[in-house]
């Protein structure tokens, strides 16, 4: 199946997977699955092959298969990443083995599936949606867009491309100690909204994330940058929010001014 398009040499690999079935097992354990792979086999292909051909009880999340839905983040050889866009070959150690575990610090539901409720609860805390300018009327379709300058878009640092995979959240040592911490994913989202000229509530947001369970709980460990499959930088977002939180009134005043021009453009 997964070896249908055989573009490379076939080689042997051992996929070591952390298994756990709460109905039978007391503790998670590691199981080895020998497999033939090619250069092109992704980690997700390997998991699918194991599920289809070796052990149908293997449980994991996946959906899009091309790094956009964010459901397949797992811990590979100790580092969080997506499994659908990574090739097995790149992760094999000297013994031709790769170890797949569920995301750390989160309760395991079964095998590689973890309970991500804490992740989503923290996400909702920062009001991840855009709060539009006053002139925006919900009941009437706008006839033009709010025009934003290229520099303003650049200042968002691609934060809008986050796919909510949870790799950063579950790599964060602070999250490991304290689930009340908002977490890198949600702080990055808050940064995105705060920096967006169309957003009307930056001061409220900065107040919300400016407590000691928000940006000031971050200990600048950088794990979130190291693991993000989209190359985003939550730590820098947090540092920026820290600085803005200390002058949130001025920042809000500047935003009010900016939105006047934004609305003048928007006819």
């Amino acid at each position: 199946m997964s070896q249908a398009q055989n573009t490379g040499q076939v080689m042997k690999a051992v996929i070591r997977i952390q298994r756990f079935n709460p109905d039978v097992d007391r503790k998670p354990y590691l199981a080895d699955y020998p497999l033939d792979i090619t250069d092109d086999t992704t980690l997700l292909d390997a998991l699918e092959t194991i599920k289809n051909e070796l052990d149908g009880s293997l449980t994991f999340r996946r959906s899009c298969r091309h790094a956009i839905c964010g459901s397949c983040a797992m811990n590979i050889n100790g580092k969080n990443t997506l499994v659908c866009n990574r090739r097995v070959k790149a992760f094999l150690d000297g013994k031709g083995r790769v170890t797949i575990r569920p995301l750390p610090y989160l309760p395991i539901i079964k095998d590689l599936v973890v309970d991500r409720s804490a992740f989503w609860e923290q996400y909702l805390r920062v009001k991840p949606w855009l709060i539009p300018p006053a002139s925006y009327n919900e009941n009437q379709a706008p006839n033009s867009e709010f025009r934003v300058m290229p520099e303003e878009v650049a200042a968002l640092k691609n934060a809008e491309t986050c796919i909510m995979c949870g790799a950063c959240y579950s790599a964060c040592s602070v999250v490991g100690m304290n689930k009340k911490y908002i977490g890198p994913h949600a702080l990055l989202k808050s940064f995105l909204r705060v920096m967006d000229p169309r957003d009307s509530a930056p001061a409220e947001r900065l107040e919300n994330v400016g407590g000691d369970d928000g940006v000031f709980r971050c200990h600048t460990i950088f794990n979130c940058i190291d693991v993000c499959p989209k190359g985003l930088n939550p730590t820098q977002a947090i540092e920026t929010l820290r600085k803005l939180a200390q002058k949130r009134r001025d920042f809000e005043a500047a935003r009010v001014e900016r939105q006047k021009t934004l609305e003048a453009d928007h006819v």
């Binding site: 602070v174 304290n178 689930k179 400016g210 000691d212 200990h219 820290r242 939180a245 200390q246």
Partner: protein
């Protein structure tokens, strides 16, 4: 945020104070006793510097310990109590330390 700002401000102050302290008090390494300390502390300017140093080091130490403690999810709900405890401890230690510094005087 307040804790964070205090921590950074005192951090910068400490880089200066502590370098100074290490150099003037301990180098060249030698036997430390009352008379050696007095050479410096006879000057009231040094007393003021030492009191400021004491203040920043206490703020930094207690704010740091507080931050380490409330990192733990179980301790976080008690952060008010902890904060007041740290402030009380800080005040007592500051008074004690200031008395100590002032007590370095040449006895007549």
């Amino acid at each position: 945020m307040r804790v964070f700002v205090l921590q950074r401000v005192t951090a910068v102050a400490l880089v200066v104070f502590l370098t100074l302290h290490m150099i003037v008090v301990h180098y060249p390494p030698g036997h430390l006793d009352f008379s050696r300390v007095m050479v410096r502390l006879a000057n009231p300017v040094w007393k003021v510097i030492d009191i400021l140093f004491l203040l920043s080091v206490l703020v930094h130490a207690l704010a740091g310990a507080y931050a380490v403690l409330i990192d733990a999810e179980r301790i976080m709900p008690y952060k008010r109590i902890l904060a007041w405890g740290a402030i009380a401890l800080g005040v007592v230690a500051f008074i004690y330390g200031t008395i100590t510094i002032i007590n370095f005087k040449v006895l007549v």
